[in-house]
């Protein structure tokens, strides 16, 4: 198998005009789409690199690079030899990028000659000016084709380069883009760490990174990429030669599990220490992110562990929020016990569990896809009920419930005015949620969920009461969501039906899927990155100017993840196997056959006398 000479030679590079045309056309269409939804013009206000590269152009130029990269990629099937990449691929990339760029020129020409601004609101002179650099249609054709040719070649070139060099090329770009885009967070952090001089060196005060800063970042990223590569090769060669590297012994003495514990501890410490050095806006953002992490952890129990696609998860968030509001606010329209928050939390738990049971009992027996739609229906019904005139004497209808006092902690009261305290509170609950999901996953109930995910009818036949097991997951999820709702109510100080739209459920689903269903770390990172950077349903993220586009991006992300990586970016091993079942079957079959042969072989040599 390892003898590559026995494998059939791969087909040589050949010029495939249809494929190139298709990909080039797609590249052009992608850029035209980005132009027509108005993204470049709208986000052009802030440069990426001071005076040299604007965010608007950045939103387009990645396209030829990516398509160049795609055209030079190849599918290597089992038993096939990978084709050596070379000049041919670069030519392909150039053609694809150039064609895409040319089509952007065509778009500029069309905008200049036809006016269809009536339905298409972004078909505007501003877009024309943007595309032509205010220098006329001819220039647009020239510059975009040239850019496309060059960038397409770069993209293809990345494929041709060995992985190590590719990293040295891509990391600096990623570093510059992310540092520039996340200016708000970084400069805030640097300022509070009394490191303003660093911020001053890198940032041109909300005009992107400085040229000097970009160069520093690029050099740093290259060095890191190079260093990482060197260490890896050193370790590999040392292992091969049997020599012991200095320090390796130390590392070896620490067991893998201990190392994992240490790194987890470091992350936890960082989560609690870093907010001390951040400003108010960042705290607000972190508090929102925290709430979504808590929600996502709860949904993960339902979707990731038990495999129930609950699209009405927001209902329990709403129940938690409203129950807290009624129990704690003096302004609740119907009954005002004005309990302290922690006392009300106990009631909230029971109410959420009860609502989970009431909703869960009828839906839990349904087939997975029906269940998804029905839970969606329930999510919407609950919002409609809170909004309706019918229940407004109890829950305030569209006016909601205001003056929710916050969380009294003896010495202080945690409420929206101190988002950092809210963040810490949320983190405490996250730890509870993480502990709960971890304990449950490795328990009798967790094994039952696993079995149900694998094959529900066999699980049933093996004595698992599938309805009860799934209901347990549903209710656990409901209780975790209600915690989040209770904190949300305390943080916001008032609560309205508008905060509990279906959108929340869908965004949570994206978060859980992008992070990796069934994996706690994945779900947390997914929530932090997506909600932190793009923003929640009504909470702004770091990329505020992207606000209009975030829901579109969530949709695209969901589709891309399902198509390319349904297991998520940080997958749960088992879950990813379940989602790739088909591809594995054959592989596994071969493995099993080999093993069977081996077994028979060993049996004959050990046991009876083998025939000569």
């Amino acid at each position: 198998m390892n003898d590559s000479s026995s494998l059939p030679a791969p087909p040589p590079w050949s010029f495939d005009p249809r494929r190139l045309g298709r990909l080039g056309g797609l590249a052009g269409l992608t850029m035209a789409f980005i132009c027509l939804i108005g993204m470049p013009v709208k986000i052009d206000t802030v440069p990426l690199i001071e005076r040299h590269l604007s965010r608007g152009y950045t939103s387009l130029v990645w396209v030829p690079i990516v398509f160049g990269f795609i055209v030079a990629s190849q599918v290597v099937l089992e038993g096939m030899q990978a084709r050596k990449r070379g000049l041919g691929d670069i030519i392909d990339g150039t053609v694809v990028g150039g064609l895409g760029g040319f089509l952007v020129g065509v778009l500029a020409w069309l905008i200049n000659n036809y006016d269809i601004r009536d339905p298409l609101i972004n078909w505007s002179p501003a877009l024309y000016d943007f595309l032509t650099f205010s220098k006329g249609t001819g220039f647009a054709f020239f510059i975009w084709t040239a850019l496309g040719l060059g960038l397409g070649a770069v993209g293809a070139g990345l494929q041709v380069l060995p992985a190590a060099y590719r990293r040295m090329a891509t990391w600096p770009a990623i570093a510059i883009v992310s540092v520039s885009v996340l200016e708000a967070a970084f400069s805030d952090l640097l300022e509070n760490l009394k490191l303003e001089f660093v911020a001053d060196a890198i940032y041109a005060k909300q005009r992107g990174v400085t040229v000097k800063g970009a160069i520093i970042l690029a050099v740093l990223a290259t060095v890191v990429a190079f260093g990482r590569d060197r260490v890896k090769t050193l370790v590999a060669s040392a292992n091969a030669n049997g020599t012991v590297l200095p320090g390796a012994a130390l590392l070896d003495n620490v067991a893998a599990s201990t190392r994992k514990k240490i790194s987890t501890a470091l992350v936890v410490v960082a989560i609690f220490v870093v907010p001390l050095f951040l400003g108010r806006i960042m705290h607000e953002l972190l508090a929102n992110v925290g709430l979504f992490i808590l929600l996502a952890l709860g949904l993960n129990v339902v979707v990731g562990l038990a495999g129930i696609l609950d699209l009405g998860y927001v209902a329990f968030f709403a129940v938690g929020g409203y129950t807290t509001a009624v129990l704690t606010s003096p302004f609740a329209p119907w009954w005002t016990p004005e309990l302290p928050w922690f006392v009300s939390l106990i009631v909230v738990m029971f109410v959420a569990a009860l609502v989970g049971l009431i909703i869960g009992a009828p839906v839990i027996r349904m087939r997975g896809d029906y269940l998804a739609i029905v839970t969606l229906g329930f999510g919407e019904i609950i919002r409609l009920l809170f909004l309706s005139d019918w229940l407004s004497p109890y829950f305030g209808g569209a006016q909601g419930i205001t003056n929710i006092p916050g969380v009294e902690l003896g010495v202080t009261t945690i409420k929206g005015t101190d988002p950092r305290a809210v963040f810490y509170l949320v983190m405490v609950f996250c730890i509870v949620a993480i502990y709960a999901s971890w304990r449950l996953e490795n328990s009798r109930l967790g094994r039952a969920w696993m079995a149900i995910r694998e094959d529900e009818s066999v699980a049933e036949a093996m004595g698992i009461n599938t309805v009860n097991a799934k209901l347990a997951a549903f209710v656990t999820g409901a209780v975790l969501a209600s915690f989040s709702g209770a904190i949300f109510a305390a943080k916001a100080g008032s609560i309205f039906p508008g905060s509990f739209k279906i959108l929340v459920s869908v965004i949570l689903l994206v978060v859980v899927i992008v992070g990796g269903m069934g994996r706690i770390a994945g779900v947390m990172v997914g929530a932090a990155v997506l909600i932190g950077v793009l923003g929640g349903p009504s909470q702004p993220g770091l990329l505020q100017e992207f606000g209009e586009y975030k829901l579109l991006i969530y949709g695209v992300l969901l589709v891309l993840m399902m198509l390319k990586r349904p297991e998520g970016l940080l997958p749960n091993v088992r879950r990813s196997r379940e989602l790739h079942g088909d591809e594995l079957t054959q592989d596994v079959w071969i493995k099993a056959q080999i093993e069977m042969d081996e077994e028979d072989g060993s049996a004959t040599t050990e046991g009876e006398v083998a025939p000569a």
């Binding site: 502990y435 709960a436 304990r439 449950l440 328990s443 009798r444 109930l445 967790g446 094994r447 039952a448 696993m450 079995a451 694998e454 094959d455 009818s457 066999v458 699980a459 049933e460 036949a461 093996m462 004595g463 698992i464 009461n465 599938t466 347990a472 656990t476 088992r574 196997r577 379940e578 594995l584 596994v588 493995k591 099993a592 056959q593 093993e595 069977m596 077994e599 028979d600 049996a603």
Partner: protein, 265 residues
């Protein structure tokens, strides 16, 4: 005295198809009964009806004297009837040990709360579940133990998957074990070995066994009694030699003798 399992006048009708016709059947404690019959005779439907997957049109299924009709499959299993499947249906992405651990679900009781609090009882039960799982797997010799515990079930060879399926059924701590073609797809050596194991399932573990099987050497070697099904009806019953010489059985398997066929046309 009552039988372990007794089936009275069972009828199952799918659409217009009479899958089970007035079937009467019983198993006594400690027996090994084989159910044989040509393809499509209704053997798997028979198992499905006992385990609650198929609701019969009429008739009754009694387990230890009590009707188990209308119970969910998990309740049937909890009463002490465990089964394997004809087309091996393991929890492929769970490890070998997890497969047998999860099967003890209905024999254990620790819920979410004790798992969250990590109580003493919970830890104790987890330990017991694991120990019992290991014990069950050890029954199959060295094949499913040691490093195999933590391998996912899908990497197992075909024969080992069959063994693991039996182990999983054993782990539910049943009284009555229903084996659906336990040696299908095994080579002669493996099936001889498994035949011996089936005998030991009774002698060492005390299971009563009903087995669907096509392999006549296995049927001959372990069965106390053989029941022949055809078109959902019992056409013969008795020990292996009686049944194998029964003209009706031969006819069901091989078709009618030539002269009869000519008479009919």
């Amino acid at each position: 005295m009552s039988h372990v399992l007794e089936i009275k006048d069972l009828n199952v009708v799918f659409g217009g198809l009479h899958a089970m016709k007035d079937l009467n059947f019983h198993v006594d404690e400690g027996e090994i009964v084989s159910v044989i019959g040509p393809n499509g005779a209704g053997k798997t439907t028979f198992f499905n009806t006992i385990t609650g997957l198929v609701k019969p049109t009429s008739g009754d299924v009694l387990y230890e004297g009590h009707s188990i009709l209308g119970l969910d499959p998990n309740q049937v299993t909890a009463l002490g009837i465990a089964r394997t499947f004809q087309n091996v249906r393991l929890f492929a992405n769970m490890t070998v040990i997890e497969n047998v651990m999860v099967a003890q679900h209905c024999r254990t009781s620790q819920g979410a709360l004790s798992a969250l609090l990590n109580t003493k009882a919970f830890k104790q039960e987890e330990r017991e579940i694991r120990e019992y799982g290991e014990k069950v797997l050890a029954f199959f010799g060295s094949r499913l133990v040691g490093y195999r515990f933590d391998q996912p079930a899908f990497v197992l060879s075909y024969a080992n998957r069959r063994r693991l399926e039996i182990a999983r059924a054993m782990a539910t701590k049943p009284k009555l074990l229903l084996l659906d073609e336990p040696v299908a797809g095994m080579n002669p050596k493996e099936s001889a070995e498994l035949t011996a194991l089936i005998g030991r399932l009774r002698s060492e573990w005390g299971f009563t066994i009903v087995m669907i099987e096509h392999d006549m050497s296995v049927v001959r070697d372990v069965s106390d009694r053989v029941v022949v099904l055809d078109h959902g009806e019992t056409i013969a019953q008795g020990d292996f030699d009686e049944v194998s010489n029964d003209p009706g059985v031969i006819e069901a398997y091989l078709g009618r003798p030539l002269e009869n066929a000519e008479d009919n046309t």
